[in-house]
Symmetry: C2
Subunit: 195 residues, 2 copies
Amino acid sequence: MELQPLFDHIGQYTPLSEEEQALLAGRVKIRKFLKGQFVVQNGDICKYENFVLSGSLKTFYIDNEGQEHIVMFAIENWWTADLGSFVSQTPADYNVQCLENSVLVQLSYEDLQQLYLQIPKLERFFRIIIQKAFVAAQKRVINNLSMPAKERYLQFREQYPLIEQRVPQYMIASYLGITKEFLSKIRSQLISGSS
Amino acid sequence: MELQPLFDHIGQYTPLSEEEQALLAGRVKIRKFLKGQFVVQNGDICKYENFVLSGSLKTFYIDNEGQEHIVMFAIENWWTADLGSFVSQTPADYNVQCLENSVLVQLSYEDLQQLYLQIPKLERFFRIIIQKAFVAAQKRVINNLSMPAKERYLQFREQYPLIEQRVPQYMIASYLGITKEFLSKIRSQLISGSS
């Protein structure tokens, strides 16, 4: 069953009955994206919450100087969207782009509102998921203020254990807010075991 | 009824029956704090979600150099806590301190877990509230990257219309990530109408 990873993921927080799984399955779309394709584009309304079945994506922001800032990555079993745009159905600030060919489960805003009424325990599930996202976002602000780049890099590897080999180094540097050269230096230090 | 502002606030998102209001009232504590008193202390576990009936508070982080960074303010009808600490019941990164004498409705972690079972619509309420907090936190990251300080200050005044007269200017500067002198300059420019 293609949606099994989604049901397993939700089941970690609040198990769904077979009937509820069927209701959910009836409202989602599975969609394939190519490497480089945009799932959300800055200025458009973000219509879907996206659950990653396979592949990887980056969420980024372009500042007034045209510089790209990566705010998060998403890999298998993560959710990705411009949540601000999705919940208020207003134009997105962020872009979400595929770093590899990706398969996503898409849940539209309207369908999710219906599902909240049909499966109230999804309120609990999304409350917990968004709580985690909020806490992670706040920690990231603190870490950027107070943690040396090397520790932030080690934390990144812990948070996204599967992604390091899959995305270019300059993107990891962008996520960490450092230059590619500095990231290179940190990596060589770690490999050679010096501190 | 002392808790009426809390019921009104929740009612904006999901109205509670009288029975549900009574259940909630049975599980909260109303507590008075003095100006300067800490509601959450860095290193302690944050035991309560706090709804502000009156007064004002700041949430701040002390970096490794001992510098204070204000991450949010809270005034009447806002919630405040170290959410990461609260939801995982682990030591807090932040401090929450009263800027004025304040009256808070406190809801403990254990009581909230019970209330989620007794009043499932509170799942919905907190999902929406945390969604808003997450979106605001993400916007703040973007604004810090891309918006001139003057616009960030104007946005601050819009977001916290009641707080500017109530807290010292240096705290607003800390929240905006600028110096007190620069904030002063922005304010004089706005008063004199120049740009």
